[in-house]
Amino acid sequence: MTEVSLPLFLVFAAVGVFGAVMMVTRTQPVHSALYLVLTLFSVAAIYVLLHAEFLAVVQILVYAGGIMVLFLFVIFLVRPPVPGEARWHGGRHVLLSAGLAVILACALGWHFLESAPAAAGNPSALLEGGNMEQVSMTLFRYYILPFETVSILLLVSMIGAIALARKGEGV
């Protein structure tokens, strides 16, 4: 499987990068959203390659299915951009930001790539008894408290979102 995966990875990576670049550069948010979905899908595919099947499924269900739908709702709720309206901040800003993004990425790469493991270990550990079971066992054995906390967090964000978005006084 490892022999096969590199080309596959490169393909998905290329699709992902393409989607990301397109997303960032589109004028219409709707387009951006669709390109983002593309990227998310390719990332999910890469998860599969990396033996994270459960995560891949969650990626698609939550991101592509949940979050992106939310984005689309909002996009339809708000006024679409007037054509001809500036997409970016001033040109100098775009250049500076691009530079910043690049050097930041380079710095990170320079810092971490050196210490990255040269090769993957035996992935069978991740797959024993099924990836999903592994994740759930770990989650509920070691991370039960963070799990509960996160559920509270979600509840809070949900209530917060409702409260914020509700029409009326006191917002």
């Binding site: 901040h89 500076l96 930001s97 910043l100 050097i103 930041l104 710095a107 320079w110 810092h111």
Partner: protein, 678 residues
Amino acid sequence: MLDLIWLIPLIPLTGVLINGFFGRRMPLKTVGVIACATVLIAFLLSVGAVVQLAGSEPNPDGLRIHELSLGDWMPLDAVSVPWEFSLDPLGSVLLLVVTGVGFLIHVYSIGYMAHEKDYARFFTYLNLFMGMMLTLVLAGNMMVMFVGWEGVGLCSYLLIGFYYDKPFDLRTGLTCADAGRKAFITNRIGDFAFLIGVLYLAINFGTLTFSEISERVAHAGPGAHGLLVGVGILLFLGACGKSAQIPLYVWLPDAMAGPTPVSALIHAATMVTAGVYMVARMSALYAQAPEAMAVIAAVGALTAIFAAIMGTAATDIKKVLAYSTVSQLGYMFAACGVGAYVAGIFHLMTHAFFKALLFLGAGSVIHGMNGEQDIRKMGGLKKKMPRTYWTFLVATLAIAGIPGLAGFFSKDEILWGAWSSGNKIVWLTLAAAAGVTAFYMFRLVYLTFWGTFRGGDEAESKVHESNSLMTVPLMVLAVLAAVGGWIGIPKLLTFGKDINLFHHWLAPAISLPHGDGHGVEASHSAGLEFGLMAVAVGIAVFGILLALHVYKSSTLPQKIADTLGPVYKLVRNLFWVDELYKFAILKPFYAACRGFRWVDIHVVDGLVNGTRNATLGLSYISNLHDRIVVDGLVNLTGWVTTWLHRMLSRVQTGMIQTYLSVMLLGVFILIAYYTLAG
């Protein structure tokens, strides 16, 4: 009845309570009767107790003594002091004298004070005095005695200052209240020494009971000799205060500011003799301390002559008698000092009779003269006040030492005691004092009763004899002054028969120095004794004749005074002793007091206030510092911040993405740093 002796002081004290609480609302007569009755009861009780004592079995030492303890008073660690009373022959003499003479004077006072507004107050004080004096006499230990000792001092203070709103001595500007205070303070000085002596006794012998002190002192051993001499002198200093001896006699002449019965009772017959009584009580101690006895003899003799001389120049009838009292007290002390205690106490008794009589007689004169006390304005009162005159004359003869009268026996016994103890100088001094005494007493009699009246016609017409409430006590006392001496008649005059009751009664209560054969008993030769007696009488008669000669002429006294010049002036001004005390002690003392007050305000408190001011000053400086330096720094910080704010607020574009850029730049720098640092 002996077990009831504690009641004797208490009975007059009930009189104090009754008259003190209700006296102002009761009729005058009732007040007087209550006061006299309490004293009379005390007197009867005393007689009963003494009779019973006389009939009791003597202890192995031959002493009849009855001791009684009413329980603890001050149970101290060093010494336990109970409420103790005791009666022995020595005390019994005083007891009878005090209650007897006291009763007579109380009766006299009813008449004398009849016109006074503060009648009840007077009798309250007088009864209080009786209670305290009897406590003193009957005390079984030094502290109970001290209660009486101080108590009589207090009564003396109150009674001297009885006319508290009146001036007394115009020459010195003293008021009656001043005189009382002077008496009290002078006494206190003596008491101070007395108390120190008591402390020494208590610490070293562990008891203050008289009988135990006598016993323990006798076995104290030679190591305690110095201590005993010291204690003896300290106690004697206390006696000096109470009994007006040099150097503390100055209060007694001024004590005449009190009503005359008070002078008779307190300042002649009873209280002032307390010092003598105390010394006799402590005879066991003095027996171990001959040096202290020598001091007593010397001081007594000196006081006797010194006071007698001052008496010759006094013009106030009571002051003459006061100096006479001081002088006679000197006699008694001299007697004690030479070991003739019995003679001393004997003289104490006879002196109580004739001196009380003299004072009461003087009071009668003053009463008859409507308050006049200056003998230069009297004269010829013989006819106007016959009863007063005759009784007064008896007393005068008695004090002068005319044979057959009370004073003769006691005085002679003292002189013989002084001679036979080997103290010839003491004898000489006392004999000379006897002559001077005779002189000033007859001077007094002459100026008062003989010759012609010098106070003007108007005053003369008002002179009157006193009523019988006053004259009857005079007569009773006159009888006592005349025949009271016969109970102490010396062997010499009874053809060898020893019927000296007084001596037999008292001697066991007295301890004399060991191996000292020169007590009054030891007579070397009857001839010598008789000769000395004759010399003394001769001196007295010479004094009398001199006085009669001098004061018969109206010009001679002045001539003598002029001749003597400065000497007369010295005597007239009482040797300037009061002035000496004033300038040598009182003035510096008050100056020191004022100095201390200045120190207190300016130095001690000044330091405190200085601290306050220093603190305030520091606070001011600190305030300045606050405003300039601290506040300045704060403001500087403010300015810097404002400036920085102006600079930095430009960075705040409000654009989230700008902030984000900067943040990411920071992240980049951090990463770069960690990467480079390794």
